[in-house]
């Protein structure tokens, strides 16, 4: 859930001067790298497998010939697209698909047509088609509202010249971060009324500290850089400095972070639904399906396996997608 693992890696990639001029991702580019930086001791840069260049002993220039870590081959892209399109498609289009009405039969009926029936005796297919919408929308809404609040807080904390405002805004988050996020969510859910909106609010609140900290960290450098000092000396208005300059400068960082946050929110929403908090008892999303149909897993496994597989596919697909985007953004 934390973006920290991504930042140093992408940050270094972003600073690599070679990567600035050559888009990574193709073998030809790496050949060009070696042509401009011939490695001493190497007989012919073209024959050598350039990927191994840093492992060749004595390769002093290896730092500048570092190949890009990820290549986007066509099969990989197709696999990723399929991984994402299937669960997302079902989640977004599923509720509007006409499903042949079937009478309720007995729960976990092994004789029912694929994929069997759930704990109430309705077809698993209905639940699968209707169950993705809620999770996806809740996660997206929670991420959006967390940014809506976290962005100004982080920005103000970074841009202010009074230290106590910074402390006042950021210190409470240190305390919130001391609690495991799932625990915090369970605590809030134990006293809040179980509605869909409450779940959005709770997930947003859990994500808020991380967002505010990242925005603050990203804005801090610009906010105390020479350009802002100059604007301040010229008597530019606070709005123009902080919104017009600082906020614009952190947009790439925020955009990259939004992907990480969305996956994190998705994880929290799914976990909350599964544990039976947040969503009301009448809700039936994929996570709830996994929970309520667990009892019949021996009789009719599809009622559990299908929604679980869709959730895993969606999480893996989103992770891989945002990782690709992050790598490309850092390299571009």
């Amino acid at each position: 859930m934390s973006p920290e693992p991504d930042l140093p890696e992408s940050g270094r990639r972003g600073l690599d001067p070679d990567d600035l001029s050559h888009p990574p991702g193709t073998l030809d580019t790496r050949g060009a790298h070696n042509a401009t930086h011939p490695t001493p001791g190497a007989t012919s840069p073209r024959k050598r497998r350039t990927v191994l260049a840093p492992l060749v002993s004595g390769a002093l220039e290896s730092r500048h010939t570092r190949p890009s870590d990820r290549r986007n081959s066509l099969p990989e892209r197709i696999a990723l697209a399929a991984l994402l399109a299937l669960p997302l498609g079902i989640a977004l289009v599923g509720p509007f698909l006409p499903v042949p009405e079937r009478d309720r039969t007995q729960p976990f009926d092994p004789a029912a047509p694929w994929p069997g029936t759930d704990y109430l005796g309705t077809s698993v297919l209905n639940g699968v088609l209707d169950g993705g919408w809620g999770i996806v929308v809740t996660a997206a809404a929670a991420t959006a509202s967390a940014f809506l609040v976290g962005l100004p807080i982080g920005l103000i904390a970074a841009a202010t010249r009074r230290r106590w405002i910074d402390e006042l805004l950021m210190r409470p988050f240190d305390l919130l971060l001391a609690l495991p996020s799932l625990l915090l969510m369970l605590l809030l859910a134990s006293i809040a009324p179980p509605t869909a909106w409450m779940l959005v609010l709770i997930v947003a609140l859990v994500n808020l500290p991380d967002i505010a900290r990242i925005v603050r960290a990203a804005a801090l450098e610009t906010a105390h850089g020479p350009a802002v000092e100059a604007m301040w000396l010229q008597g530019e208005s606070w709005w123009r400095t902080s919104i017009g300059h600082i906020a614009r400068s952190i947009l790439p960082t925020v955009a990259a972070d939004a992907g990480v946050r969305l996956v994190g929110a998705f994880y929290l929403v799914a976990a909350a639904s599964f544990l039976g908090v947040g969503a009301g008892p009448e809700a039936s999303d994929w996570a709830v399906m996994v929970d309520v149909n667990r009892g019949g897993i021996f009789l009719s496994p599809w009622g559990v396996v299908l929604p679980a597989a869709l959730l895993v596919a969606l999480a893996v697909g989103l992770n891989l997608l945002f990782d690709r985007l992050l790598a490309r953004k850092a390299a571009a």
Binding site: L55, G58, P180, L182, I191, Y267, L275, G276, I297
Partner: protein, 313 residues
């Protein structure tokens, strides 16, 4: 070092205190009359009066806060509203399975994730690296329960190799087969993040001039990797290992629920669903204090490894 440690321990103490106050505030945040809200499905006057009596709800909030904090200091967390047993006793009985799960996960986590990270870094760009990288990126935030039920349906139901739940097992350690699937699920997320960090640090270290120099001096490749590159590669991962404690506690809640293990996580979920606030508060304080302690230890270790880095913020 001493000044830093004192500052950091002070912050940790404030955090634990804040967690305790936050847990206390849960009662205050209840809408309306707390006793009525807690009675929930059984709003008969006797029950409400009993809850009011037991939680001293007719006393002023500040006095109750003082009692609550003093109680924590002496190990008295109050009594469960449902069973009437003391919360401290519940915590102690539920602690063992959770400790076994978390401890084994941590023991397995370090060698596995460092091994994966180093293996990927040494074969950078080739298929083992791409396989490991894709897996660690992809599985990074997969919901644990979904992973768990998929593993259960494949290995416990489809193949019938492992038991699906821990129902009827007297002690987790007496039947190690029960532990395999829960540990796999618990390990998935932390391994992903730490292996990625180790890989990135290892690549940086292998590209460095000192490694090139050691190689030129004729040191064996094994020694180069293990004795020279690895220590530097692991340092950035230290902070992440502390965060793992956070995930581990969160993961334990879900994993215990899926595999029906009677630990702290199950107790917490049951208490939340039953609105048994004294138990919720007690477990929250226990979890919060553990997280704070682990973070504290990790920060001190990281400071000792690289004193110039101000890790606190």
């Amino acid at each position: 070092m001493l000044a830093y440690a004192a500052k950091r321990i002070g912050l940790g103490a404030v955090q634990v205190l804040a967690v305790a106050v936050l847990a206390f505030a849960l009662v205050e945040l209840l809408p309306g009359d707390a006793a009525v809200a807690l009675a929930g499905d059984q709003p008969d006057p006797d029950n409400i009066e009993r809850i009011r009596e037991q939680m001293h709800l007719d006393e002023p909030a500040l006095a109750r806060l003082g009692d609550w904090l003093a109680g924590i200091a002496t190990g008295d967390f109050g009594a469960s509203l449902v069973s009437g047993r003391p919360v401290a006793g519940l915590l102690v009985t539920a602690l063992e399975p959770t400790l076994i799960l978390a401890g084994l996960t941590l023991i397995l986590l370090l060698p596995l994730s460092i091994g994966l990270g180093v293996a990927a870094a040494r074969r950078r760009g080739r298929w083992p690296d791409r396989l490991i990288t894709t897996f660690t990126v992809g599985l990074y935030s997969v919901p644990e329960f979904a992973l768990a039920v998929l593993l259960v349906s494949v290995f416990a139901i489809g193949l019938a190799w492992l038991p699906p739940t821990a129902v009827g097992v007297p002690s987790l350690l007496s039947e190690p087969a029960v532990l395999v699937l829960p540990l796999l699920v618990l390990l998935a997320r932390p391994i992903c993040s730490i292996a990625r960090l180790v890989r990135a640090g290892m690549i940086e270290a292998l590209d460095s001039e000192y490694v090139a120099h050691v190689r030129r001096a004729g040191v064996s490749e094994r020694r180069v990797v293990l004795a020279h590159a690895l220590p530097n590669a692991v340092t950035p991962a230290t902070a992440q290992i502390a965060r793992t404690a956070d995930w581990l506690l969160g993961g334990v809640i879900v994993v215990e629920s899926v595999f029906v293990i009677p630990g702290l996580g199950t107790a917490l979920v049951d208490a939340v669903n039953a609105r048994d606030l004294p138990v919720v508060q007690g477990i929250a304080v226990a979890f919060g204090a553990t997280t704070v302690l682990v973070n504290l230890a990790a920060d001190l270790v990281a400071f000792r490894l690289a004193p110039r880095l101000e890790v606190a913020r």
